[in-house]
Subunit: 239 residues, 2 copies
Amino acid sequence: MQTPDIQALVFDVFGTVVDWRGGIVREAVPFLRRHAPGTDSAAFADAWRARYAPSMEVVRTGGRPFVRLDVLHRENLLAVLPQFGIDPARVPADEIDALNLAWHRLDPWPDAVAGLARLRQRFIVAPLSNGNIRLMLDMAKRAGLPWDAILGAEVAQAYKPAPEAYLRTAEVLGLPPGQVCMVAAHNGDLVAARQCGLRTAFVVRPTEHGPAQTTDLVPEQAWDWQAPDLEDLARQLGA
Amino acid sequence: MQTPDIQALVFDVFGTVVDWRGGIVREAVPFLRRHAPGTDSAAFADAWRARYAPSMEVVRTGGRPFVRLDVLHRENLLAVLPQFGIDPARVPADEIDALNLAWHRLDPWPDAVAGLARLRQRFIVAPLSNGNIRLMLDMAKRAGLPWDAILGAEVAQAYKPAPEAYLRTAEVLGLPPGQVCMVAAHNGDLVAARQCGLRTAFVVRPTEHGPAQTTDLVPEQAWDWQAPDLEDLARQLGA
């Protein structure tokens, strides 16, 4: 294995570092029990998440100024409730706020903390997530994710896969894009990162979307590295 | 002592958390030995630092767009060399770059790491420094400063004491200013923070400017807290 000329690893977080679906299901269960008994909380989590990409696309295409993901998540939550027979006007605002913060309380995949800790010995490690700073901060503090800094959409004021999200992150790090490696479980994220000149590492997360997942099960390009988990990636990178 | 309704502590760094003067003196010694033997390296450090505030003032007053502190430090270094008889054109660029990175390698005051670690158990802790993200990141990684996130001028795109530096930091944290406490060894920083509604904690650093320091030896207002060091502040805040 060549010694990579990489100074920093930047990470997709939702799905790559943490299990967003399991966390949202867990937090939605008591909420749904109160407001829509019998609802499939996994279907609810998937429906909420399904509004994620379209809501950012409005920002990416200039339809509205940049707003942090907490704002989009809350709007998406209010929009998804009627799909499950819940009238948002009848749910107290503090319950909405509390459920919205579920995204701040997601659990890492089992290898994530140990893998990041190893990688951090050799590289700068930071999220390059669409999650906002406070969201990433709360998640890291709760789960013990050992980031060197919290970068991403809010620092770049741009949502992935917009090129600005990747390029401004490299600029903040004071590095040429080729000395930064994007680590993600999503081929689309790596396509965009590679187009910006970043190196790429694919970590397969075959149950991010549940047991019937059909997407991102294999690398769709010859990424610079591919690994079953972050501890294995650390080993490959000599960390 | 009341239990404070504070969620986050944000820190001035140069002088409050780290000993910038001692670090710059240490790193300047071999440089000056090569280029201007016999130069007083403390005088050199003070002269370099003396250009810090004026260079940011140009940005604060709209004289130029925001640029990160690494850029200002380098410009200030080139400007200060002739004061010590050194022609910047005769110094290799990589030596200039290396000396400029001295600001990334400053040592913390003896209480800083332990104090921050204690405070972090109870509060969000982050720099609110005029230093840029990569500078703060390198410093933290080298010294083991346990920040939850790296905030400050580059995230806010504004240099202290501009109100935007404080207010945008609170906004990024998702907190009203009154739930954020500015910790600084400089009365002027706390004046500006208080005007923005932040709580204030003064930590006295009587040798930041060397043994003959005459400024910031005492609190000049009744700050919410005052402490001889960060471990004592942690004790006062119940952390």
